[in-house]
Subunit: 484 residues, 2 copies
Amino acid sequence: MSKSKLRWLLERDQTLPLYRQIEQQLRQRISNGEWPVGTRLPSQRKLAEQLGVNRSTVTQAIDELASWGIIAGNKGGGTRVVNNTWNRLAANTINWDRYVESGAHQPNLPAIRQINEAEYRADIIRTGTGEPGPELLPTARIRHILADASDEPFLGYEEPKGNLRLRQQIVHYVAKQGIQCSPESILIVSGALQALQLIAIGLLQRPSSIVAEAPSYIQSVRVFQSAGIGVHRVAMDAQGIKMSHLRQQLTEHQPGLLYTIPTFHNPTGTIMSNERRAELLELSSSLSLPLIEDDVYRELWLDEEPPPPLKSQDRHGNILYLGSLSKMMSPGIRVGWIIAPVPVIDRLADIKMQTDYGSSGLSQYVATRWLADGHQAQHQAWLREQLQARRDRLLAALEYHFGDIGAWNVPAGGFYIWLRLPVTVHVHRLFKLALRERILIHPGYMYDRAAAHHIRLSYSYAEMGQLEHSIQRLRQLVKQCMDV
Amino acid sequence: MSKSKLRWLLERDQTLPLYRQIEQQLRQRISNGEWPVGTRLPSQRKLAEQLGVNRSTVTQAIDELASWGIIAGNKGGGTRVVNNTWNRLAANTINWDRYVESGAHQPNLPAIRQINEAEYRADIIRTGTGEPGPELLPTARIRHILADASDEPFLGYEEPKGNLRLRQQIVHYVAKQGIQCSPESILIVSGALQALQLIAIGLLQRPSSIVAEAPSYIQSVRVFQSAGIGVHRVAMDAQGIKMSHLRQQLTEHQPGLLYTIPTFHNPTGTIMSNERRAELLELSSSLSLPLIEDDVYRELWLDEEPPPPLKSQDRHGNILYLGSLSKMMSPGIRVGWIIAPVPVIDRLADIKMQTDYGSSGLSQYVATRWLADGHQAQHQAWLREQLQARRDRLLAALEYHFGDIGAWNVPAGGFYIWLRLPVTVHVHRLFKLALRERILIHPGYMYDRAAAHHIRLSYSYAEMGQLEHSIQRLRQLVKQCMDV
Ligand SMILES: Cc1ncc(COP(=O)(O)O)c(C=O)c1O
Ligand SMILES: Cc1ncc(COP(=O)(O)O)c(C=O)c1O
């Protein structure tokens, strides 16, 4: 049950006692079908915590409902809705659980859902969140763009591939990175993540599989798995994908494509070397292996420009290239793009029209202005400076607190530091300990089942003072875990 | 090949002859992999038309490329890219067709794609388009909201179920329609269409099927079919769904749910009667049959308020209720909602996070202000007046031009008139004839394979003078078809 479920209005100075207010609200949720028969109630401890009342008050309310035969405890200790017929005689209720469990798309990993939920708690320090923090967002610039929204039509439906002016801007934008393309080979998507979803349902047969780096961007792997596609993993070293392992995986599993983040890899920060890039392109071309090049961090280089995108060398249309404004401008605006051969773009655009009828025209309008008016270039320069300073502070804090017990990369761009902890530390335990102190960490095992001793840190989101404090606290918690 | 593919810049007064410019541009698309080997070129006639040059100029360019062995004609008469290796020795190209054809999601119907494409031609009169036309969009109001965007954070990611303030506004909004719910049972979606997609991949097992009215909103039926779910159809009469036929379909096919548009049905304009609503609710409850109530047209009543939503009578959580701002405020902003039991909403929110990480925060912000600041109520009143006048004009035109040869409904709300033509008229022929005169009609067979003699008209989109002119012209074309 997510937190938001419990934003109820209890009024402390009402004539009705608190337990009766709680009972009424529970009853209402049950009687109007929001909590149908079979729904599991949050635990009494949780309810009490979230409503900010004593546990005994909750118990009183629950007992009351139970006495009406509306809810009942079960062996497992949980309490479920068992009846909602006090206001109507005999009626069948749909067993929604059966529906919820039988859909084709798989549920998210519990660890990810736990993190998703924790992230919306206002009081939490998010040490691993992979997005620009509130102070890094160009709110003033965007307000400026909005304030001066012209008569441009931005309220109607857009073309299937997305707003043409935006696609033209993207043509210019990627040209600077060495990619030649035209608007018809671009599809605007609601974030790069959606491009992966479209690829999963639009280009891969069932059964089939893909290969992805281990570790990798969690949601990328998930989106394929949830759509019923197998994901094989390929090991990395400091130069990027290990080619011998890749060849082995290709031979063994014959995957439909390779998903890679060659530049400022999430979560390790790795930049694939020029040599490795050449080898990979060669392999792709000789084996006719399509690549997804996820390049959402490219412009966030901190020391020097990274090697050009693989896509800039792609003369055969073997690469599906992903970009996004999420990491540079706004994750919430949901504007990303995929550049690929026209038949692929046509296919994906068709599916996108069928499933959500195109991305928000308002977001696309703002994105167009963002690129056309030169905001991107200006903001990028500023953002790099900010990120550089943040990176350096986080590195200094690590040096100080983890110098003797950890190992990490020095990222040349992107957001992430991949911190290795001593092997005696049980990271899930550390996660729980930290969360109790309102410090949210991103355990490495989410990115790669085998990465049992890593955590992902990000210098992009948390306020720096809080992040430094968290590193200091984490050292103590790590020590505590080591001593056990 | 979609139109947008041909937005090429030919410069008439360049030194390079036109045919060479065309050749170069084709060559570039082939060499940078946008048109990989195997891609089918648009026909020469089409190319010539779209580039605005003589066909012989195109032929010259094509012959040039063919002489290099880059493209070649095939038996079917088409021309395909056969080679792109003039700039690199022997390399394998990916057969994208194989990928494009093997994805799980099915392609859209050719008829729909044809209409999608025609709709983006600026010079076309769209007689059936189901969205508010440009003059009906509240552009000034939205500009006002944008101009005064506060410090509200609208650039970060939103909560999994969508912006909480927006969900609270929706609670108030639907309360006026008799629906009681709380924010946790609402999921914000990128248009009501996306809710259907989430239901298709999140709640229905494979294989399974649903029942939908015949005819029905095209994309709704498509989204289920494309996701591999069977769609059985149930007949309608003037009161809505024919209950006897529904019972028959339920017994025969045991579908997972029923999709219905009880209020201002698309495309027939039907309002389900109170009696039928009661029967349907009774059936749903006695058979535990979930219903999707698609209610996106509710507020667009023209004569009197329609009966309350089925959802307002739903005490068992049997109904998944869909709403949207598309028809009232902006189709391009992509803000819709689904109201359902919490376990269902949790499940759909989880899938939405996995596939697009939530809807545009900017769109959600504008939608919140739209509802909170009272724009919706004011605009709605104005919009009703406009639509009423438009409806009456269209009805008058029909009376005048089709009184002797057609039959139609008088819609009490929504956008649509479902026009029946004489049985001797071959509607696909009419479609083609009309398109030649830049009049786009929506053939009935798209909404229901059996509706061979209907077309859907909408008074919401086209400029009224043009719409009246089209009706007049259509009469002549219909006559022409009848004479054959
Ligand atoms: C490698 C990578 N690709 C894509 C994304 C998601 O981008 P978007 O917000 O555009 O969906 C992320 C976000 O964490 C990422 O790390
Ligand atoms: C019945 C019905 N539902 C839903 C939609 C689509 O709504 P949205 O733009 O919110 O996806 C339409 C649009 O034609 C419709 O007619």
